[in-house]
């Protein structure tokens, strides 16, 4: 087991390093003179020079890269030009919104998708199955930002039950803050739930066809017992990997949804940073988000080994 973890950890570190290298190249080296891009072409020479000095552009690329990565590790991400505040503070404020939003979305989509997927597989080609497949077909086809707009139209415009956007902030009390996150979370969760339900269904269908489920039935277990005790447990293994992959889709979704609902989260921050050409913030956020995707996939790999003893590297056969 230790070997398995170490191998995965090595892969993680390599991937992170390469990712940071690429981000640094794209964001600092390729554009030639980041300062010019940030201030626009007609900026006065002295302000340009001051910015360059502040960003340390005069040092050789490698040195800047090492400083930057050092900063990443110690949390010193440099100062945003437009906001005049360190990037770390910027992120600190906004993570309080994006993270819970993502978590609610994950919980919602998993809680909805896995039971639906299992139900559809158990009742293959019957009403329940056709219904679930129809729902998932739609769920995948509807773009989440359009779905969000429809939700706003329905809940905020007609029924005026939920706020159309904006974020009350956690200090305004738990429930009101949660309320503002409800619609966005549902909009985020729908496509993920649809994909997850389909994957769960086909995975459970596959395991239902396996010999050991027939063995369980031959042992006298009822159809339901064989499904839950044997089929579903094995079916979850591929489903977990898909959930790992879905996190990166969820990330992209968050950026869009935060803009639809005008929520001041990481997504909106990155979007505004582009508009203001604040390369420092964009660079740091991109690497942070990319790193989170890689780390989540690393955790999913570990969960994979926990679920499937064959990967646990238990003692070799007798």
């Amino acid at each position: 087991m230790a070997l398995f973890v170490l191998q995965r950890l090595a892969a993680l570190v390599v991937t992170l390093l390469v990712a940071s290298l690429v981000v640094f190249l794209v964001m600092e080296v390729l554009p030639g003179d980041p300062a010019a891009i940030m201030l626009g072409v007609n900026a006065r020479e002295d302000t340009l020079a001051a910015l360059r000095a502040e960003m340390g552009l005069d040092k050789p690329a490698l040195e800047r890269y090492l400083i930057w990565v050092g900063g990443l590790l110690t949390g010193d991400l440099g100062r945003s030009y437009t906001y005049g505040v360190t990037v770390w503070e910027l992120v600190g404020e906004r993570i309080g919104l994006s993270l819970p939003l993502a978590l609610i979305a994950i919980v919602l989509s998993t809680a909805l998708a896995i039971p639906l997927g299992v139900l559809a597989a158990a009742k293959r080609n019957k009403a329940a199955d056709v219904g679930v497949m129809g729902f998932t077909q739609l769920g995948i086809a509807i773009p989440n930002f359009w779905f969000a707009m429809l939700l706003i139209l329905l809940f905020a415009v007609y029924w005026r039950v939920l706020p159309a956007g904006g974020f009350a902030g956690w200090d305004a009390g738990f429930w009101p803050a949660l309320q503002t996150l409800l619609l966005p979370a549902v909009a985020l969760a729908l496509p993920q739930a649809a994909i997850l339900a389909r994957v769960t269904r086909s995975s459970v269908l596959e395991t239902l066809g396996e010999d050991y489920v027939r063995t369980a039935r031959a042992k006298g277990l009822s159809r339901r017992a064989a499904l839950w005790r044997h089929a579903v447990r094995n079916a979850l293994i591929p489903v977990v990997t898909i959930m790992g992959l879905q996190f990166s889709f969820l990330l992209a979704g968050t950026i869009i949804i935060e803009n639809v609902f005008y929520l001041p989260g990481l997504g909106r921050l990155i979007f505004q940073a582009i508009a203001q050409r604040d390369l420092i913030v964009v660079k740091d956020l991109v690497i942070l988000l990319a790193a989170s995707v890689v780390v989540v996939n690393f955790l999913v790999d570990l969960l994979y080994a926990v679920l499937d003893p064959r990967l646990r590297g238990a003692r070799h056969g007798l």
Binding site: A2, L3, L6, G313, H316
Partner: protein, 279 residues
């Protein structure tokens, strides 16, 4: 090729597989599939290799056909060291040795017509042959295994297990090889179909003077296709000799254990005292 050299000579062949590492600092465990195996096969002569799964008989088949480079030892085909040859000369040598596999449903490419499949060795090893001559060669081998020339236009899924195995044999025959390595060619077939394919192997041997390296876990089958047998256990040949000799007076304890375990019609029976032996 020197006339005197045997068709196939294998000297001290050793093959190790490296398994994924268990512990970080421990070297990767190595599994010795073949341990200093030596055997010889003259032209026209056939040798059967029997043994249980994991005895290394399939690894031997692959090593002999230059599919897996051994850790040590030599494989000589028609007097030439297979693993010392460059690609070109090795390709020329491949014409003389082809292979038949166990699973009739896995050994034919489902997306290709039978004609194309059977002609693949021809197209790869004898580039010059094309057009009518190629069609004639395909028809010839298909008929030689009891199929019809027009079957060349069909796809593998249109044939039964036994017929597919005939197609695989036709593919092995098309370059007129001297040696056919057959890895459990009849084990996946029903008894009645097995009989037909075994008879085909016997006919081909007599008609074309072929040599077989016939691999099987079923001792009863061996007798029909080869005059000599080698018994393998854990990567080593523990006994080798004429089939009658080995089956009637097995020397090695493992061979004796193997022969005793095979249920025989008319032999001892379980659950009953010495039954009235049927004729």
């Amino acid at each position: 090729m020197t006339v005197t050299a045997p068709l196939l000579r294998v000297e001290d062949l050793t093959l190790d597989y490296t398994l994924p590492r268990r512990r970080l600092f421990e070297a990767a465990p190595r599994f010795r599939a073949l341990n200093a195996v030596s055997l010889q096969l003259a032209k026209g002569e056939s040798l059967a290799v029997v043994g249980e799964s994991g005895s290394g008989k399939s690894s031997l088949a692959r090593a002999v056909l230059a599919l897996e480079r051994p850790t040590a030892g030599r494989v000589e085909l028609l007097g030439r060291d297979v693993y010392a040859l460059a690609l070109g000369p090795l390709r020329a040598l491949r014409r003389h040795a082809q292979m038949v596999f166990q699973d009739p449903y896995g050994s034919l490419d489902p997306r290709r017509k039978v004609g194309w499949i059977v002609a693949e060795p021809l197209d790869a090893l004898e580039q010059g042959v094309a057009g009518d001559e190629r069609r004639a060669r395909i028809a010839e081998v298909l008929e030689s295994v009891g199929l019809k020339a027009r079957d060349a236009e069909k796809f593998p899924h249109e044939f039964s297990g036994g017929q597919r195995q005939r197609i695989a044999i036709a593919r092995a025959l098309i370059t007129h090889p001297d040696l056919i390595v057959a890895d459990e060619p009849v084990s996946a077939l029903d008894v009645s179909v097995q009989a037909q394919v075994l008879n085909l192997f016997m006919d081909l041997r007599e008609r074309l003077g072929l040599s077989y390296l016939f691999i099987s876990h079923d001792l009863a089958v061996v007798r029909h296709v080869a005059e000599r047998v080698a018994v393998m256990c854990q990567g080593e040949i523990v006994e080798e000799g004429m089939v009658e000799e080995v089956f009637r007076r097995p020397q090695h304890p493992y061979t004796r254990k193997l022969l005793a375990a095979v249920p025989r019609i008319g032999g001892a029976r379980r659950g009953e005292p010495a039954a009235t032996a049927a004729p």
